[in-house]
């Protein structure tokens, strides 16, 4: 099946969900506004629906999609999630150092000592410039 047909089908479902959520927006009663908050989302949802159909119909041949290394993508997404969850608890310096080192590794760097040195360098210089020189608030975490 052409990948664009699958894409169109998925998008079609999303657009229906979006329109459903749009239909639930309550229109305030007795306001002077001629156009309420619901019309625009409904129109956008309809547009999305049409685009999805268009993409599905237009899909003719099977196009080779770029080769994706899904393990790296999911590992990166996981690393992002962990970083978001722990950043405020552990603090900027420690969390960022570990995150940058891990992410460099995931992105294909193959030199641990270099990654660690660079990640410490990035985290410390951001901390010094933004926290200490510019006074930007960064999470202190366990060092605070």
């Amino acid at each position: 099946m052409p990948s664009d047909r699958a894409l169109g089908a998925v998008l079609l479902l999303v657009s229906v969900g979006y329109m459903g959520a749009a239909a639930l927006i309550s229109e305030p009663e007795g306001q002077y506004a001629v156009i309420g908050p619901r019309l625009f989302p409904l129109v956008i949802g309809a547009g999305w629906f049409v685009c999805s159909l268009w993409i599905a119909i237009e899909a003719k041949e099977v196009v080779a999609l770029p080769v994706i290394d899904w393990r790296v993508v999911s590992a990166s997404a996981l690393a992002f999630l962990v970083y978001v969850v722990v950043l405020e608890r552990v603090g900027y310096l420690v969390a960022t150092t570990v995150f940058v080192a891990v992410e460099s590794r995931l992105l294909g760097s193959r030199s641990w000592w270099r990654d660690v040195i660079v990640s410490i360098g990035i985290a410390v210089s951001v901390y010094v410039v933004f926290r200490l020189l510019l006074g930007v608030r960064l999470p202190e975490g366990i060092l605070g």
Partner: protein, 501 residues
């Protein structure tokens, strides 16, 4: 007071502010950062400006816009260097430069190619800024008469043009626009206070911040893309033999190409949708058509470097015209710049020219200064720029991610924003995988809420009569243009006759 005298006054004030030591420093940082990201493939001006956006929040807006202007011009210039030396365009707008630029390098004429790109960029940037300075105030005069109906029509035109002219499928360009519009509807409706698509999540009540969206889609999305494909772009740059200069004969051939490229680039830039890449390709096509030996193109014709490189720089100046004069961007990079104006609580357009004329003219003056800085800083430093390609990509993208995260976090000191940015990065990754362009989405995220407001305002004024968009002449003409853009493939087929599929 005559218009030209007024212009002189404005410029004098602008230059005195652009040449202040601190602003000069920002200009220098801007062109340096801009050239660096121009050299590096995968990192463009829209990404760089969006990444720096939150970090400049505490700065004086004049300094910040001088920085952004420098980045924009610098990126247009920097893209050419790697196109010429390693056949690896740093930006899409320099793809066409690689054809003849790299051919010249192989013939040992890299110095001449680099020189014609650099001087051409300078000439084009300077003339484009001059034209920007002349055209923007005229447009401002016109825009004074505009009401909500006209602004609505203009925004529809900008969105349709960018979505419809994007490379590849029109369906996907339209989809990209719709996704952006949908993202823009999240949050409390400003007119009625009604929450939309917030699903009870308090962090969504304020809507998806434009800065969070651009950083997420451009920066985080790019990191995901690199993670997924790890496209290793290699190639060792050839040493630049001889000096970076032009012979008399090369000057004679370059100058007309620069000037044509400037005009083509500027007007392509003014129109929404087309932008630097289209400008460079158009200029290349024109140069080849006008050449005495068209066969020499692709084999190292200097016009093939001079024209496109002038055109992409001039388009940057052109694209600032609708942004500054109307507040309506027509490209990804200018959409991010509009987001920057919004961050400072400024609304580009006629009001900006009257209320913050100091900012407008400082920015315009700084563009002249940036051009000079680019020429002075860059020609001697070309070897340094090329060395940037040796920076290991994984570390580079990890650093991009760090700065993107830092910027999003410090915006509101809210970790929720970081989560949204990462989520949108994943969305951008899937869009990219399916060849859905990103720039229309960003433009729609920025323009969507304004579009809805102007529409509802126009309808309120007309008492609910939708014909207001067609009875006001300017709005009717613009909407007529929208129809032409939408129906363009049909129109062209009718004019040219059926062609093979």
């Amino acid at each position: 007071m005559g218009l030209s005298a007024q212009l002189g006054d404005h410029l004098a004030i602008g230059f005195s502010s652009a040449l202040e030591p601190l602003n000069l420093l920002f200009g220098m940082i801007g062109v340096t950062v801009g050239t660096a990201i121009g050299v590096l493939p995968g990192i463009g001006p829209a990404l760089a400006i969006s990444m720096l956006l939150p970090l400049t929040f505490g700065m004086d807006p004049i300094g910040a816009f001088i920085l952004f202007g420098g980045i924009y011009y610098g990126a247009m210039y920097g893209g050419s260097t790697t196109s010429i030396l390693v056949k690896m365009p740093g930006e899409a707008s320099s793809v066409v430069t690689a054809l003849d630029g790299y051919a010249m390098t192989r013939q040992g004429r890299a110095g001449a190619a680099l020189a014609t790109a650099a001087i051409g960029s300078f000439v084009a940037g300077t003339f484009a800024t001059l034209m920007l300075m002349m055209l923007a105030p005229v447009l401002v005069e016109l825009a004074l008469e505009f009401g909500p109906a006209e602004y609505f029509a203009l925004m529809v035109f900008a969105l349709i043009s960018l979505g419809g002219l994007s490379a590849g499928s029109r369906a996907k360009g339209a989809l990209a626009t719709v996704i952006g519009l949908a993202l823009g509807t999240v949050g409390i409706d400003v007119q009625t206070g009604q929450p939309r698509f917030t699903f009870g999540v308090p962090g969504l009540l304020g809507g998806i911040n434009v800065v969070v969206a651009t950083v997420g889609m451009f920066a985080v999305g790019e990191v995901f893309w690199f993670a997924a494909t790890r496209q290793v772009v290699g190639g060792r740059p050839a040493p630049v033999a001889g000096g970076v200069r032009l012979t008399r004969e090369e000057w004679r051939r370059s100058v007309p190409a620069w000037l044509r490229g400037t005009v083509i680039g500027f007007f392509t830039g003014v129109l929404p949708g087309a932008g630097a890449t289209v400008a460079s390709f158009l200029s290349y096509a024109v140069e080849r058509r006008l050449a005495r030996e068209p066969a020499a193109f692709g084999e190292g014709a200097i016009e093939g470097v001079a024209g496109p490189e002038a055109a992409n720089n001039a388009s940057a100046g052109g694209s600032l015209v609708p942004l500054l004069a109307l507040g309506i961007p027509g490209s990804g990079t200018t959409a991010v710049m509009l987001a920057a104006f919004q961050m400072y609580g400024l609304q580009p357009g006629p009001l900006l020219f009257s209320q913050d004329s100091n900012l407008v003219w400082s920015l315009i003056a700084s563009l002249y200064v940036s051009n000079v800085l680019l020429l002075v800083l860059n020609l001697p430093l070309i070897r340094v720029w090329v060395r940037l390609l040796h920076v290991p990509r994984p570390l580079l993208f990890a650093a991009v991610l760090t700065f993107a995260t830092l910027g999003v976090y410090t915006l509101n000191n809210n970790i929720f924003d970081v989560a949204v940015a990462y989520g949108l990065g994943l969305v951008a990754f899937f869009m990219r995988r399916h060849n859905v362009p990103l720039a229309p989405t960003i433009l729609a995220v920025v323009l969507g809420p304004l579009l809805e407001q102007e529409f509802r305002r126009a309808m309120s004024i007309s008492g609910g009569d939708p014909t207001v968009f067609l009875t006001r002449p300017v709005s009717a003409v613009i909407l007529g243009l929208v129809v032409v853009v939408v129906l363009w493939p049909v129109v062209r087929r009718l004019m040219v006759g059926p062609r093979r599929l």
